[in-house]
Symmetry: C3
Subunit: 333 residues, 3 copies
């Protein structure tokens, strides 16, 4: 049970009602008497929640326990941390974890069953790693990180403080580099690493490849969803958020505070400036030098027959345009 006083503390809310405790958080229509909920600005406070985060001006005649805040969605985020179960089921270092004697573990590090820590690794204080994860030689992991199970960190990669890396993420696998030769592809062994800053979140089964020579670079505060692919030598600016299934070819540079929609692609060797917002499934194929919202591709599902008719015309577009131009000339002559 969480006391509302704790919620007040993390959200800076003003409590209107008696001291009480809640068991969990729930959405407005699912919440019961033991739950805390939140009200988006301008909505009506119709809920059975035991306590409600909301703006004072949205209260109306709501008689329940109120926690007044300026930004209820932000307050929801702040409060949510109180209700999350512990990252680790067991404290300490599991007997079946294998730690090389040369590794340096900070105070309070937790390693679950089957974790493998290779030589030369350093792990900061209070970082916790779930079962069967592999941390390769000479990796550096900061303090207060939460690392899932089946995570792979190839040799020499670096993660800063307060990172959260989800299960199945692979950090530092080889970039995809081959030189053509008469005898077929010759592998370019990937000699760079991956440098990841502080407060970075990396989703499940996401892959971030090591650089060919220099490092792949993920700045502070970057948030990356599941199944994202970041190729060798990409550079992602601070605070940028990348939705699921995005793919970036090598040496893509993304600025700070960008948002990238799901399944968008980048053809590589591009430079995207700060504060750019890219729509879902857009294939970015050139530099972007001005902040703003961008999109590409064809969005929306149509009944199959309609779509087929329009789709067929796509492959005639140039010829249709030329016929239009010819017609214009004829008329305007």
């Amino acid at each position: 049970m969480i006391e509302l006083a704790q919620v007040v503390q993390v959200t800076d809310a003003t409590l209107v009602g008696p001291p009480m405790s809640v068991r969990g958080m729930a959405s407005l229509d699912q919440a019961g008497a033991q739950d805390l909920s939140f009200l988006m600005p301008g909505r009506r406070p119709e809920t059975a929640a035991g306590a409600l985060l909301l703006r004072e001006q949205d209260r109306g005649d709501y008689a329940g326990v109120c926690l007044f805040v300026q930004d209820p969605y932000l307050a929801f985020a702040q409060a949510s941390a109180l209700f999350e179960p512990a990252w680790m089921a067991q404290p300490g270092i599991a007997p079946s974890a294998q730690v090389d004697p040369s590794a340096q573990l900070g105070e309070g590090v937790q390693l679950a069953a089957g974790v493998v820590i290779e030589a030369g690794v350093t792990i900061g204080a209070h970082t916790a790693i779930r079962p069967n994860t592999w941390i390769g030689p000479n990796c550096q992991i900061g303090a207060q990180c939460q690392i899932g199970n089946h995570v792979s960190m190839y040799p020499g990669c670096r993660v800063g403080d307060q990172g959260r890396i989800h299960s199945g993420a692979v950090i530092g696998a080889d970039g995809f580099g081959f030189a053509p030769s008469d005898q077929g592809w010759v592998k370019i062994h990937q000699l760079g690493g991956v440098w990841i800053g502080d407060r970075v979140e990396i989703g499940a089964n996401t892959t971030i490849d090591r650089g060919a020579l220099d490092d792949t670079h993920i700045a502070d505060g970057v948030k990356i969803d599941n199944q994202v692919m970041i190729a060798h030598n990409c550079r992602i600016g601070a605070g940028t958020a990348i939705a699921a299934c995005v793919g970036m070819a090598g040496s893509t540079e993304i600025g700070a505070n960008c948002t990238i929609g799901g399944a968008a692609g980048f053809t590589g060797h591009l430079s995207i400036c700060d504060n750019v917002h890219i729509g879902a499934m857009t294939l970015v194929a050139g530099d972007i030098r001005q902040s703003g919202a961008y999109a590409g591709g064809v969005q929306g599902a149509r009944p199959m027959r309609d779509w087929k008719r329009n789709m067929a015309r796509f492959n005639q577009l140039d010829s249709l345009a030329q016929r239009l131009i010819a017609l214009e000339k004829k008329i305007n002559r």
Copy 2:
């Protein structure tokens, strides 16, 4: 070796020929005298197979051993189960599996090497789990499930009976939720779970995120291919089949008995009704309220030069359309 009598039993076939046994199943042109094969309706039974599942009317003058069925493709599926090797290499619970004393294991549960079962987990009878999989605290797994290796089940997730989950699947990682603030993104800790019904198949390296507050919900009989991404609070209706590489943003609701083509995307907060069929690589961006087949995007590969010409016109489409309209006005004046 499998007796044809067993095949008859699972397919409800009529055997025309002597009792015999077969070693395996094979496609029509690869099958030999020890193989069972099947004939799609209307095709000619030219094969060296030892026995053949087919419709009686397709027999012609074929002299080999026949198993008459109404639907040979369905019979192929039914018979295939007889030939699959056992899911587990070893029965019982491997010495290196780690099971929390509070976990409840049904009769005949099999756990391979390196499996980690945390506190409060329940596993139904005859469920089998391959090496190095992690089942987090308080997960519930039904009976007769087959769970691959390196599967991750985050705390509190639920899978029904007869599920099959392939290697590298991640169930219940955090949904991608952050609230913007003056200090950057503030994480919305994901407090919901994942609820998965009976007879659900989940492909390799697929990720299904836990809900923010309520559960992500996968109904009975849903089939999900590899590398699918299902975000927090999605709801998938019974019997829906989802091909590989599909991505769904948060709170997408898909009805029952839908089929979703490979690499299709959903922009989130959408509602798709029952019996909808979506083409490959379509980006669905609005609700669909009527059953039927839908598609979007541009399909097909063209010689590079042709494509570039048509592609360039896409970015002039609105201007071309307006010129056409202007021309129409001029002519029809």
Copy 3:
């Protein structure tokens, strides 16, 4: 430290300068006095590198240590192998690796902690496997392979010599096959395997499904990037390179020496001939019978407002085309 004499040996270079050793490789502008770098043809040799791979004709008045080669990019690839750290942190077979007594291991095989080798497996000489990987019953792995951690090889799959498989790759999970029936989907148990040739590289979290009846087939020298999905019964020809996030539906056949751009898709049951090059995010939906470069889809990101206007016209394309044709008839009457 690597002697330049070793670089000369693998690149067939002509050394102009004194014998010396270098610590690593670096890009032109990052390289210091202890680094080897390389110069792309036609560029100017401005660098602080200790030694430089370049064409003799690009030397100009560069006074540093030179290694003359015909193809500097190829020489870079050849030299890079000298600088890569060892694949394995520890030689030999880790105590916590579990090897079935019936498995046959060649000379110098290295198995890291938590690796599970099931019955009937054969592994060739000097193959090395990183922690927690699972090799299922009756798999065959050739000599001098490097296999990452958390790799899954389902029963009966085969990899040739000198393969490199990255972390999280899943070889041989079930193809996605179900027959419809009155009682819902009936699983087609996948009875084929996966056959992978020599010198194949497979990226992190890539999935290659087993065949339904026959094998999925990856020929010699194929290079596959991360998060690629290859469905059951696909066949990939020798020397073909497949970039990240590509998805192929079942029974796609790709010829030899093709290159497939990132996130391209194939709708299945297609045949693509040799020496075909497919652009990023193209959805290939028909056979290709002639070598060359192909592309599809809509490429490029546009400011949101422009894009929306053009995008809206896509769904009017057929009607616009018909209006154009009608106008042409009227004018030319």
